[in-house]
């Protein structure tokens, strides 16, 4: 019986030290990705420095699957900037352009946005009764742009099973590859 298990288990003929090494390698990849993300968070000042465009409301500037680099420094918001904001009660952040700003003397600012591809402004998208966005709704300003790179994320967003499948396959691959 134990022989049968030994034959079926792909890890059985790999020495233990090599399995340990693969686990450490896997951990290194994950922690490097995390380090880059955290470094970008500090450098940009935004809680989510890289976003993937999920809707076509900014066509033809941004298509679904394009990658944006955001930053969030202290400077004032200006009309024409492309910002990413999050509405209370809605999970997915929105990428749209600022149409109007009204800045008060105490530093508070009222912002109205609109998608380039939408016929009307975003009041219909905001929470009920909300007329303006404020600084705390905004995650960051779009500064850099790279097309198509986020397509994998879009696929995973559209087919959630793909995410689990991909993670399992990658994990198995990383753990069971032997160094020659």
């Amino acid at each position: 019986m134990s022989e049968l298990i030994g034959k079926l288990n792909p890890f059985s003929n790999i020495p233990k030290y090599q399995i340990a090494q693969q686990i450490i390698n896997f951990g290194l990849i994950v922690s490097t990705a995390l380090m880059i993300w955290k470094f970008l968070m500090i450098a940009s000042g935004s809680e989510s420095p890289i976003v993937v465009v999920l809707s076509g409301s900014m066509k033809p500037a941004f298509e679904r699957g394009d990658l944006l680099y955001l930053d969030m420094n202290e400077g004032p918001f200006r009309v024409g900037e492309i910002v990413v904001f999050k509405i209370e009660g809605k999970e997915i952040p929105i990428v749209h352009r600022i149409l109007q700003i009204h800045e008060k003397s105490n530093g508070l600012v009222d912002i109205l946005t609109k998608g380039d591809n939408n016929p009307v402004d975003d009041r219909g998208l905001y929470a009920e009764g909300q007329l303006w966005l404020n600084r705390n709704h905004i995650i960051g300003r779009a500064r850099g742009y790279l097309p198509y790179v986020g397509m994998v994320t879009i696929m995973m967003h559209d087919f959630p099973q793909l995410k689990i499948f991909l993670v399992v396959v990658l994990a198995l691959f990383v753990l069971s590859t032997r160094e020659q």
Binding site: P60, A61, F62, R78, V79, G80, E81, I82, R97, L99, Q100, I101, H102, E103, K104, S105, D110, D116, A142, R143, G144, Y145, L146, P147, Q180
Partner: protein, 171 residues
Amino acid sequence: MYSITQRANTIICFGGMVLFGVLLLNVLSRAFFPNHVDVDIKLNSVTRLNKRNSIEYAEVHFDLQTDLRPLFNWNTKMLFLYVVAEYQTKQNVISQEVLWDHILMDKEKANIDVKNIFKYYLVDQGLGLRNNTINLTFNYNVIPISGLLTRHKDGSHQFKLNDRYLLDKYY
């Protein structure tokens, strides 16, 4: 390099790296293209100035003449053009509103000469428009193939709104 999959992986990886390299050179080459344009923007007419629910609004028409063809190079995907009205009120230190915007994809259509254009109303948050000085500016936002998104301001025009309400004849 000892097996087919290994070779395919290395070659495709290298191709991707070279593609990223030429893309980076493309992005950097933007610095050597001219980015100055001459813009002529001026007020045509204010056909409506009124209030509704203690909010003042105005219908501002203006003329715009500019040639944006130099801005199109191999790093340009599109230009987003917009005209901003900027003013101050007792309520707000600064108010900025987009009065007109336009998406420009073709170099052939980049020589712009339009008269009497109007797209969005100028709407204040309160009663701050009458007898106020408005500054019109022409702005554009370059959306590149990839790289930095930049905004530029060129050309401005100042005018003063009427101190009495103007009603449109159809209104």
